[in-house]
């Protein structure tokens, strides 16, 4: 029974033997996608008002800043680092846009300046982490406070709300009578760009390599410092774009805009199957993670569930998504020695299981 098996190249056979859909479902990413589909279907069937066209409009508008920032966050977490200052960059770029527009600059120029501020923030984070070798967790907790402090300090408790309506309406506009907001185009471009960058370029391979084993990546010629710096700058830039969107959507530049957004982003990225230790994850999983949290929150709000319970559900889901694969794996490991009669350490697991 097993003697013939040892002569075949098993791992290849085992992988290709499975139908494509089964292989796909085995990944964390597609599990999240499947969960999203189920939650969406359940919400459609049971939540009053969820099937209305406004649901999609508001859902997309609500998740836009989270999804935008989640893209560079995914890349950074893939390297094993983290950027907790993103929400403060959103706030600072929002305030920059407001202050400069109020000072008489044209909108486009003010938006460009806001983006530059984001790049600067990213340079600060990136330099400290990549070139001074400081831990990103500590650095970005520091800059979280620093950038937020600057944002609130610049505007105080006031808000700039005099933005031209053509811009603010544009941020919330939909395609004709369809419920799909125009901003979906921006989302699609950014998501596809990051998907290509991470999954189809040498730069993306470097990102994964750094996350798996940084030393090995360095010895194999990856410029770890430059890669990290680029990622933090991208994070600053995209966060600043999210800040501009945020300002226009709510028609208000305030120092406290997007407070706490960083935790929503990190939660969505982890829910999407990205390993917090780096090296593992995919963009489609993160998109599903962001949408899953968005759909859940929208459905629960329609049921008049209080915000505290919504947070509890999302938090519990996150913990569960991290814990349950490990628990199941541990249970499976404990069962295996009992069921496998022959002990062959040189064999791979699939053979041992085939003996059951």
């Amino acid at each position: 029974m097993t003697t013939t098996a040892t002569t075949t190249p098993r791992p290849a056979v085992a992988v290709h033997a499975r139908p494509w859909w089964r292989r796909a479902l085995l990944t964390r990413e597609w599990a999240t996608v499947a969960l999203l589909a189920v939650v969406y279907a359940v919400a459609l069937g049971t939540v009053t008002g969820f099937d209305g066209p406004l649901t999609i409009t508001y859902l997309v508008l609500d998740i836009t800043p989270v999804l935008l920032v989640a893209m560079p966050m995914t890349a950074i977490i893939l390297t094993g680092e983290i950027d907790l200052s993103v929400a403060s960059v959103v706030g600072l770029s929002s305030v920059t846009l407001g202050v400069l527009y109020q000072a008489g600059l044209p909108m486009a120029a003010a938006a460009l300046a806001a983006a530059l501020v984001g790049v600067l923030c990213g340079l600060v984070n990136g330099t400290l982490v990549a070139y001074l070798g400081l831990p990103s967790l500590a650095v970005t907790i520091g800059t979280l406070a620093l950038f937020r402090g600057l944002a609130v300090g610049l505007l105080g408790t006031t808000a700039v709300t005099t933005f031209p309506e053509s811009w603010t309406d544009g941020a919330r506009a939909t395609f004709g009578d369809s419920p799909l907001p125009v901003v979906t185009v921006v989302l699609a471009v950014v998501v596809v760009a990051f998907a290509v960058l991470l999954h189809a370029t040498p730069f993306g391979r470097d990102v994964f390599d750094i996350g798996r084993t940084r030393e090995a990546a360095r010895f194999s010629g990856v410029d770890v410092r430059r890669t990290l710096l680029v990622l933090f700058v991208l994070s600053g830039l995209v966060s600043a774009l999210a800040g501009v969107y945020y300002t226009l959507r709510y028609g208000s530049a305030r120092g406290d805009n997007a407070t706490g957004l960083e935790l929503q982003v990190v939660a969505a990225v982890l829910l999407g199957g990205v390993s917090i230790f780096g090296g593992r994850g995919a963009v489609h999983g993160v998109v599903a993670g962001v949408l899953l949290i968005g759909v859940l929150a929208a459905a629960l709000r329609l049921e008049n569930v209080t915000v505290n319970l919504i947070n509890i559900v999302i938090g519990a889901l996150l913990v569960l998504s991290v814990v349950s694969p490990r628990v199941v794996a541990a249970v499976a490991r404990r069962r295996r020695p009992v069921s496998s009669k022959a002990h062959r350490p040189e064999r791979d697991r699939s053979i041992e299981r085939s003996q059951r």
């Binding site: 029974m1 013939t4 098996a5 075949t8 098993r10 056979v13 033997a17 499975r18 479902l25 085995l26 599990a31 499947a34 969960l35 189920v38 939650v39 359940v42 919400a43 049971t46 939540v47 009053t48 008002g49 406004l54 649901t55 508001y58 808000a159 709300t161 945020y246 709510y250 028609g251 208000s252 305030r254 805009n257 407070t259 929208a298 459905a299 629960l300 709000r301 329609l302 049921e303 008049n304 569930v305 209080t306 915000v307 505290n308 319970l309 947070n311 559900v313 519990a316 889901l317 569960l320 998504s321 349950s324 694969p325 199941v328 794996a329 499976a332 697991r349 699939s350 299981r353 085939s354």
Partner: protein
């Protein structure tokens, strides 16, 4: 042989995924069904003749808004409406917007909002109104174009007049008083102080305002300024503090000094901050509005709008249960009335 190899290996990983999904779903659907029951019951009421009213305070877990929602619920029960309270955990406008959107999707009859920003939630309110939802603001207004009616807790004249009435009464109608304000450029406080100065000149000839001090709405600064006021004006008989931080700090200083019981402290304060000073005799009475009445009136205004009894135009009148009849003033404002006076006899009834 190979067949068995092919089929079986998928088993363990699939178990992992299925188990994870089942566990996740159990959580999700469990939470949904729990509240789905409550939501369903609400919808049943809404489907009948009950007016659906949703309160959206600045944030949840704030005793002040707990009190206003209690008032709103009381009103809704009286007229057979369906009351819901939703809100964010942080008092920011962007956090309020999804709840306004949700109310629009649900098609609630009226939304009663305390705005975290006069403009940032405006577009969302517009969308809700174009979906047929009436919008009442209370406590904190938006720009007038975004709502039907604003239920104002107190007018500047009312606040100024009530504080002078209290201090004059407590110092026996004559003597020196001082004002302990917030910061020197606080818009509200400066408007009240200007009105108080006018009223002092015309209605209280024997009361002399000797100094206006600024405690910057900081507890320690206000405490120190109180000490300085009492030192530099030995004949001072009363301090008026039109800010909740200032009055509490002034009362704390006086309660442990030799001035206790001799120098009157009054102004605008909250019952929870002032309770111990009223109980130990430092403070006789102070003013604010009653948030329960505010919520009660806002709910009645929402009901009147939903019934198209009023449109929010100046001169519209409606009846608000136990509070009586109200008239909509300029800019769609409804005034709750004179500030409410808290003293030893009623402070135990309030928790905010």
């Amino acid at each position: 042989m190979k067949l068995s190899d092919r089929k079986v290996p998928a088993r363990r990983p699939r178990t992992v995924v299925v188990a994870a999904m089942v566990a996740g779903l159990a959580l999700v659907t469990g939470a949904c069904s729990d509240d789905g029951g409550g939501g369903g019951a609400d919808d049943g009421g809404g489907g009948g003749d009950g007016t659906t009213i949703t309160f959206l305070p600045k944030n949840l877990g704030n005793p002040y808004f707990d009190a206003s929602s209690t008032g709103g619920q009381e009103a809704a029960e009286e007229f057979g409406g369906v009351f819901d309270e939703v809100g964010p955990d942080q008092a920011t406008p962007d956090a309020q917007v999804p709840f306004i959107n949700t109310a629009a999707q649900q098609g609630v009859d009226a939304l009663v909002v305390s705005a975290n920003d006069p403009r940032a939630i405006g577009d969302a309110l517009d969308e809700a109104r174009s979906a047929g939802t009436k919008v009442v603001t209370f406590d904190s207004d938006t720009d007038p174009e975004f709502r039907d009616v604003f239920v104002n807790q107190a007018s500047a004249e009312g606040i100024a007049a009530k504080q002078l009435e209290l201090v004059s009464e407590q110092i026996g109608g004559s003597g020196q008083i001082a004002i302990l304000s917030a910061s020197a450029n606080a818009t509200n406080q400066n408007a009240w102080i200007a009105l108080m100065e006018d009223m002092l000149a015309s209605e209280y000839p024997d009361v002399e305002l000797v100094e206006i001090a600024y405690g910057d709405d900081d507890d320690q600064t206000s405490f120190d300024k109180t000490a300085a006021l009492l030192q530099s004006h030995p004949d001072l008989k009363g301090i008026v503090s039109p800010t909740t931080v200032g009055i509490a700090a002034a009362a704390r200083y006086v309660s442990t000094s030799e001035h206790k019981g001799k120098v009157a402290i009054t102004g605008l304060g909250t019952p929870n901050q002032m309770r111990e000073y009223v109980e130990d005799g430092t403070v006789t009475s102070f003013a604010l509005w009653n948030p329960e009445d505010l919520g009660y009136l806002a709910a009645h205004a929402a009901k009147a709008l939903a019934d198209e009894e009023i449109t929010g135009a100046e001169g519209d009148t409606f009846t608000a249960g136990r509070l009586g009849e109200f008239t909509v003033g300029a800019n769609g404002e409804v005034l709750l009335g004179e500030p409410f006076v808290f003293d030893e006899s009623n402070i135990a009834d309030f928790d905010f």
